[in-house]
């Protein structure tokens, strides 16, 4: 579908709908252009209202594969000066440049957008685990303490591109089709509870994690306070942010696999646990719910989470938002609507609807 054709109608009235998500991964790590994800998410333009769209691509910066890459948006030049001074005090800057963009008339306000390829300065963070915490701290410090600046991507060999506009406009603006990645995720936003601003568009990211989310999180306050104890601070005014940090905390720090993370975020009902026949497993599920009660995500959601080695789809436990999965050869697809997959993958080997609360896990091979 020609995504531009929807623009006029899109602005002529409010269309009640939900957000849209889409994701594509090549499990052998072979990179492919952003064309596919662009077509897929644009076919669901109807699901958003033009107040936020974004993309995450993995494997897009092979020439800087070992450097941390920060994407930062600034409201004004002064903010940029102060933040760059701060970054230079903590990192060796390998390269810095404006994020390449096209002029798109429909985008009325555009912040200053820069990207930085960085190495942690010698002696600042000696162990690699500490290096990741050091990067998180830097990003959170900037987002909390520097007015008019916002780090919206901070991984290695990956990047998040997002803003206020529909998916066609944002894709065109960031020249998404110029990049090649082995995982792509995308989002089309219909903000319900929080403002539509550039930082509040999806995907949300920290380190190489990215999250796109259709739904809303009733447990946001509980999750947020829980995460603050672990040093994660929410600064984006959008509930989805907590999912990103929960994955970093549970996946990277607590070293839990995605199956287990699924059982924590979309925990089985107590009644379901009671019906579990295996006593050991029953006790285990009970314990998990108790230990991680503050990490449970309450409310409707369909999310696609990615990092450098995996793409995961997950629904809330009673399936209040749509999600469809498909595979063809080494490719795996996830989307809010089956048609958004069929459009870019004509004869999938397999199409299925994931069970509520059960993660679909696609891992990078080798």
């Amino acid at each position: 579908m020609e995504y531009g054709q929807l623009k006029e109608r899109e602005r002529s009235g409010r269309v009640p709908s939900g957000c849209g998500v889409s994701g594509i991964m090549n499990r052998t790590g072979k990179v492919f252009s952003g064309d596919g994800i662009l077509a897929s998410i644009c076919s669901m333009t109807e699901r958003g209202n033009g107040l936020g769209s974004g993309y995450a691509g993995y494997g897009i910066y092979p020439e800087y594969a070992d450097n941390w890459c920060f994407h930062i948006m600034y409201d004004e030049r002064k903010a940029r000066e102060l933040v760059e001074e701060y970054i230079e005090s903590r990192f060796e800057v390998v390269n810095e440049e404006p994020i390449p963009t096209r002029k798109v008339d429909a985008l009325k306000y555009v912040p200053l957008l820069f990207r930085y390829f960085l190495n942690v300065k010698n002696g600042f963070a000696p162990e690699s685990a500490a290096e990741e915490d050091y990067v998180i701290k830097t990003a959170m410090d900037i987002n909390r303490n520097f007015k008019g600046a916002c780090v919206f991507s901070s991984g290695k060999n990956m990047g998040i591109f997002k803003g206020v506009g529909n998916p066609g406009e944002i894709g065109e603006f960031y020249r998404i089709e110029d990049y090649k990645g082995y995982i792509w995720t995308a989002h089309n936003r219909f903000p319900t509870n929080t403002v539509g601003w550039w930082g509040g568009a999806h995907p949300f990211g920290i380190l190489d994690w990215s999250v796109v989310h259709n739904g809303e999180i009733s447990s946001y306050g509980i999750n947020r306070r829980y995460l603050e104890n672990a040093g994660y601070y929410c600064t984006f005014f959008t509930d989805t942010e907590v999912i990103t940090y929960l994955f970093d905390l549970l996946g990277r720090k607590h070293k839990l696999d995605f199956e287990l993370i699924g059982k924590i975020l979309a925990a089985p009902f107590w009644s379901e646990i009671e019906r579990e026949k295996d006593e050991r497993n029953r006790e285990f599920l009970k314990t998990l719910r108790i230990i991680y009660s503050s990490a449970l995500i309450n409310g409707p959601f369909a999310i696609i989470v990615a990092n450098s080695t995996a793409m995961v789809g997950l629904n809330d436990r009673i399936k209040l938002r749509p999600l469809v999965a498909a595979e063809k050869g080494e490719f795996i697809y996830l989307a809010s609507e089956e048609s958004a997959i069929r459009l870019i993958c004509e004869n999938p080997d397999n199409v299925w609807m994931p069970d509520a609360g059960q993660p679909v896990i696609a891992k990078l091979k080798g």
Partner: protein, 244 residues
Amino acid sequence: MMKINAEGMHYRVLNEKIRGALESGLTDISIEGVCGQRYIGAGLKKNGVCITANGIPGNDLGVFMDGPEITVHGNVQDGAGNTLNSGRIIIHGSSGDLLGHSMRGGEIFVKGDVGYRVGIHMKEYKDFYPVIVIGGSARSFLGEYMAGGMIILLGLKKDRRIAGDFLGTGMHGGAIYARGGPDGCQLGKEVKVFKVDGNDKEKIRKYAERFAEYFGYASEEILKEEFFKIVPITHRPYGKIYTY
């Protein structure tokens, strides 16, 4: 017969074409290359009309429809048959969530599986009696808040439980018939499972024969296995909440 190629076409344009064709007196429309177009057949009020959709129709297929028959060669997405008043939808694939949402009349036949909350809030009134026949299995919340009509669940593939959990939660009218019974499914607290009587058997036979005809099965094979009825045990499950 009129043929429409819907490839890359916006749903509004497609629906205008369908309406235009019907107004000019055509009764047989075939649409190729359907991929995600929403609201196909929305609000159409006319008897003796056949629409064939090849591909994947978008959400709310046949919403508020009153009379026509839609045949889909492919899967349907969420909300097909939403508030269907009369007419028929025949799906030669599987269905997403919310199939037959608030359906008031008409018939839906699905060859494959269906998603979550199918038949939610179905209701019947006088001669209006909505029916959904499902060849495969259903996910959780089948017949949620169901107030009338009938769902027949055949479970022919037997590759998973015939339905999910919370089966018939909040149900206070109508009936769900499950071939072989709802083994291993957690039922809503408003319903119970009963054996079928002669009257039930007659209804099941009638629709199983139609299902077999549409999708090329032998109805005797389908009817060999015993059916069980899931019905509400009270007509007013929430009647006591607001009384003092």
